[in-house]
Amino acid sequence: MGEIPRNSLRRWLFTTNHKDIGILYLVTSLYFLVAAGALALLVRIQLTYPNMGFLTASAYNQAITVHGVVMLLWFLSPIAFALANYIVPLQIGARDLAFPRLNAMSYWLLLFGGLIAALGFFTPGGAIDTGWTVYAPLNTAKYSPQPGITLAGAGLLLLMASVTLSTVNFLVTIFRMRVKGLSLLKMPMFTWGILLTVFLMLLAFPPFAAAVLMLASDRILGTVYFLAPEGGALLWTHLLWFFGHPEVYILLFPALFALGDVLVTFTKRPIYGKKIVIAAAIAGSVLSLMVWGHHMFTTGINPVWRKIMTVLTETISIPFGVIILAYILTLVGGRIRLRTPMLFALGSIALFIIGGITGVFNSSVAIDYGVRGTYWIVGHFHFTLVGGATTALVAAIYYWWPKMSGRMFSEKLGKLHFTIYMIGYLILYLPMHALVDMPRRVYTYPAGYGWELNNLLATIGAFIFALSWPIFFLILYKSLRSGEPAGNNPWGGWSLEWLTKSPPPPHNYDGEPVVDDSGTIRITTLPTNGGHAYHEHYSPWPITISLAAFLIFLGAILFLPVAVAGLLLLVASVVGLAKEGLAEKFKIPEAPEGARWPFTQVEKVKLGVWMFLYSEAVLFGSLIGSYVFVRLNSAAWPAPGEVLSITNGAVNTFILLTSSLTAVLALASVRVGNQTGLKAGLLATFILGLAFLLNKAVEWNEIFQHGFTFSSGLPAAAFYITTGAHGAHVAAGLVVLAYIIAKAFKGGYTRENHSTVEYFGLYWHFVDIVWVFLFPLFYLI
């Protein structure tokens, strides 16, 4: 695309600049905050007195569900990514993220995901109403036939695609694009927080993606995973909470580590024990993957396992206790300036302490027998996610606002905002802790159980708390209109983002930032050829691909012709993207030298492919684990050879493994400059891949004829979903391969320059390895 004026609408639709995308994320997440906050107010109005008639049961259930889902996934996560997008490249001295177009796609997928989920409100039966945990089998079409739930599932799938792309993007950016001299340990706290967040996302999201994929299949194709009494309900809880618990830390880390930067700047002292804080957070991350059972204490699962989960969950309080104490020690001996960002930071720590302590109660399997499903739990997690995370993110927005807008805001109004926020907050959430025995998620409650006063207080608090947000937006608006110019470094921070203009130019730095051995950061002047200056890049394809995905899901759920339109748009966009790639229009320069430990020898795209395959491995691991779980819970299962032909499976295994071999031959050929070998190898791989898919189509058709259909039971559900997901990966591989073949025939790969062939090979081998697991699991045992 040519030059686009900076104040046009097209700029915002086609931008791939990390700062523009950061602003898009910020505006979008604040919009979702207001929407989900309004729903919370409706909920609080309904609960003001016993037996209120403001909302119906159905409207109430929709309100709490959409409130929860949106606040967790479309507000807290994206607002962290808003700051991460804007600030992380600046903090490490990069020109942009490693893959700017993927980054734009992350944003658009998130937005369209939110829109498709919101469409549920306009369909018969309304939006998703199952609670954000979407427990099985209430989530199946049998008990909740309304399209609102399927639409929300589609929204979640788009969101998870967005998250996966972001994860890969930030990992590669942080590992590969730091300026020279900025080792990992020297990075500012916030960048550390994002690094840990995306690592955790890479592990925690794929199991949830697997669960939602299975649910979508249950609801659209009629498979029966979650309806099955052979563990369907428990399977969902396992997958959901394996994701759900780390998700808490995913939402918390960006906020907790942004606090680190705010504390350093406003106390004028280094973080007490930065390494200790980071090590504790890593320990907390690892533990967070092992404690999901504490959400399942009352499901009757193995008692020994429950006790182990109790101990592990109490252990997880240790690293977070250490982090909070380290933060308090940071204050000691400092010169603390109580400006607005610092007030919110301190408020956040105080509220997080309370939320952390009430969390310890819930780690006890004995206490959980009583408090599970009560307002005590609602109070607890709002203290961590609103009190801890949201308050800290408000601090972070105030902290980086002058950098993003170039203007200061009113300190007086900021303090007023803080006061109203804290008063409203405490009146809203403290009384919930006194409702230890009141059930949550009920639209009405009887009088006479001592619940009246605390509900009334919470509703009053909710309105005061809600009032604090218009004040916040007013402060930001006034600052944009008439704030004092901020200058480069209004707070006296040390890190790289404060060394450039506010707001920074599109290429971030007028020169190359470098950290020397003494730890001093300098911006060197550009080399005379202007070598690494970053040019603005626009691409229309991220938004059109995301829109196409939106249309395809919408069509599949509501009205099929829309899906056809989406498919056409997808094909056109992918072709457009491929042309952009063939013309090599899009190249983000990497500085010739930089801090890249521990991936000094790994090119950035390769690193991206590795990270992506890692999340893919977790996805397939979850699908296979689900199959094993239901199979162990089932009394009967078809014997090998009874439904699926072993010969057929063996032939397909042979075909696919041979295609790995031809892919290796293609790479070996291009390495020695043999173009014929390259083309032959690639073509053979393509033909074998196609043969695999055709053979599968024949097989599916045959077993369908014999009554082994989508809806014929658990064995069919497990088989079609798992091998279907694998088949989709083969098909996606073939699309990329078609592009590579086109480029190969144009002579696009040479002895020196053939990395795409190599990275495709990594993906292709991965897909083959997955099949090596699937064949014995489904055909032989």
Partner: protein, 215 residues
């Protein structure tokens, strides 16, 4: 309303465990938040206050602070508090999960939206269950449709009702009277009204009701 101690051994033990957590939690919270507030006030910027000796500077990577010894000390402090409460948990959980012998067994089925109770003699009731005072009653809880939670509200105890799975929970109370059973896991539009009456009767009255087959 009866006091907690009169309700059931499970409930009183649960309440004392909760109180233990509450005491330790409150003390910890007050101490830590006081540290936060006191240090903020003590070191806040005032006229004449100097920069600390290791103050951060613009465009300069901050120096490192803190020692491993300090980290270990912090870890031990937090771990010590947690150890105390974990022991309390383990004792209580055994009491909850291992019902004493000589009991009345009642099968409970949750459904959208109500509770069905089946007695050993085949007697069935819906949304109302009668049990004798002073004896141990074990509920075997499952669901015929979606995920529910069977909660004995005043007793502060409950267990999930899951299709394809049976979970048990027991109580024994001296105090005759009427109590509330309520679903505590969102199960559809009827969730809020998915309640049942738990009627605790004097043993002789219960015996007459149970064997008489009357309403």
């Amino acid at each position: 309303m009866p006091t907690i101690a009169e309700l059931s051994p499970i409930t009183s033990q649960w309440q004392s465990l909760f109180n233990l957590y509450l005491t330790i939690g409150t003390v910890t919270g007050v101490v830590v938040i006081s540290l936060l507030v006191v240090n903020t006030l003590r070191y806040r910027d005032r006229p004449g206050r100097q920069n600390p000796s290791d103050a951060i500077e613009e465009a300069k990577i901050p120096a490192e602070r803190g020692t491993i010894g300090a980290a270990l000390l912090l870890t031990l402090i937090v771990a010590g508090i947690l150890f105390a409460i974990t022991i309390g948990t383990m004792a209580t959980v055994d009491l909850i999960e291992k019902p004493p012998k000589g009991t009345l067994h009642i099968n409970v089925e949750g459904f959208q939206w109500g509770w069905r109770f089946t007695y050993p003699n085949g007697r069935e009731t819906v949304n109302e269950v009668r049990i004798p005072a002073g004896e141990v009653t074990v509920f075997y809880v499952t669901s015929t449709d979606v995920f529910h939670k069977f909660q004995l509200v005043e007793f502060k105890i409950g267990v999930d009702a899951i299709p394809g799975k049976v979970n048990k929970i027991w109580i024994s109370t001296e105090k005759a009277g009427e109590y509330l059973i309520q679903c505590y896991e969102l199960c559809g539009v009827g969730h809020a009204v998915m309640a049942a009456k738990l009627i605790v009767m004097e043993p002789s009255e219960f015996k007459a009701w149970y064997e008489g087959g009357g309403a």
